[in-house]
Symmetry: C2
Subunit: 253 residues, 2 copies
């Protein structure tokens, strides 16, 4: 009988050189592909790995959560360090834990936190540039905050999804959106029970236009009320977005 031990892991990656999380047919470099390759080298057998959130190309993660089964029982640290030894420098398992055999990183997630960051600097230093979208020097965080107030609640967010999903399936709950200002940086921290494909970047595109003064702050509630996609702005660039944390019921992992 083959043993199968389920593990959960917290994973950080730089989205810059990845075509997103999910393995794709035409074999671009994805996080899932490099992680499954590292797991296979560690375990000596093909290992499938599933994530809480399927981040898009260019989107970063500081606290993605994944689960996988190993055909061998190993100490948690040994799995973490052993798999990391086979991962490229832009992806790292930060923490590995044994999990219940039924644990599912995607299905069991209760909330996710995404951070979007803009910089008002005329020149963004090379060190920060991979994580910041530019916004005009005069962008107004207070206007963006006013627009963001329309978001929290249980609503149909279909207008913000990449493709309009069937009615009803695009209802999500946003618990909070905090627009923060620190020096030249403006950021928006989203916490919700789930986000539609492209939803955070679509909302951030609107927030940026509000900040620049091109849209009124009321545009956000108008979008939610009317569902009129012609009122949208272009999606905000992927590099500004980071999946920060995923919350589960039993602990804070």
């Amino acid at each position: 009988m083959t043993i199968r031990i389920r593990y959960r892991a917290r994973l950080a990656y730089l989205g810059t050189e990845f075509a997103g999380w999910q393995i794709q047919k035409n074999a671009p470099r994805t996080v899932q592909a490099v992680l499954e390759a590292a797991l296979q080298r560690f375990a000596g057998a093909p290992i499938r790995c599933l994530a809480a959130g399927r981040t898009d190309a260019g989107v970063h993660a500081e606290g993605q959560v994944v689960h996988f089964d190993l055909p061998v029982q190993r100490e948690e640290q040994e799995v973490r360090d052993g798999v990391n030894a086979f991962l490229p420098a832009d992806a790292r398992l930060l923490e590995v834990r044994r999990a219940a055999p039924s644990f599912d990183a995607r299905r069991d997630a209760i909330w996710k936190e995404y951070l979007y960051r803009w910089s008002r600097e005329a020149v963004i230093p090379p060190r920060a540039a991979p994580f910041l979208a530019p916004i005009s020097v005069s962008a107004d965080a207070a206007r963006m905050r006013a627009a963001a107030e329309a978001l929290p609640g249980t609503r149909d967010f279909g207008v913000f999804s990449v493709r309009r999903p069937p009615a009803g399936s695009s209802v999500r709950t946003i618990f909070s959106v905090s627009v923060l200002e620190q020096g030249p940086e403006i950021s928006a921290l989203f916490r919700g029970n789930g986000f539609l494909r492209g939803m955070v970047r679509s909302i951030c595109g609107v927030l940026a236009e509000v900040g620049r003064g091109r849209f009124p702050p009321a545009r956000m509630s108008e979008l939610l009320e009317t569902g009129n996609r012609r009122l949208l702005a272009p999606k905000a660039p992927a590099r500004g977005l980071t999946l920060m944390r995923v919350g589960y019921g039993e602990d804070g992992f």
Copy 2:
């Protein structure tokens, strides 16, 4: 008559993919080489560029200062944005100013500030890893601080230089060394009137051994007193080091 307008610029770069600041014969990728190439494309003529500090391979800069002459008079912002357009993503002019024709980024520097960073984390996240040297989880910042107290003052620092320089030429003044602790990170901020080649990384190698408990804190003063290079530790890795700022007399640039 050809005009020659002198400019000074503040420059940031990621050291990771550079073989240091200075142009070399065998043509590796250096910061000076890419900057002079960008200046040439901007100005349409070969431009020489000199820096306050010749950082080694792998060492980062957030506030390197350089000077160069242009055969054309241009607005400061125009120079900054025009040259940046020809620079690779890992180097950026943050600020450009007209300077007196006699201004010399190296000779006129009054002080320089270098920051060295270590992480005690078991796994360093990919985002921070290019800027942090690993140190053991149990490394003790208080011991490192005690060792660093031996450094400030006007002394012969020759024991810490890559090659022992002629007697007398290795006297420098360190104004302050602050050992800081923030979560799992330990850092050391050096301010001095100048630093010998390899000096900060050599000192940091000793500090790390003190932090790990392998050297007593008194090792630092012993090194300064005896000049005995056999008491040294290996140099700390380049990626932990960043040239933060260079100070000049007339302003804070």
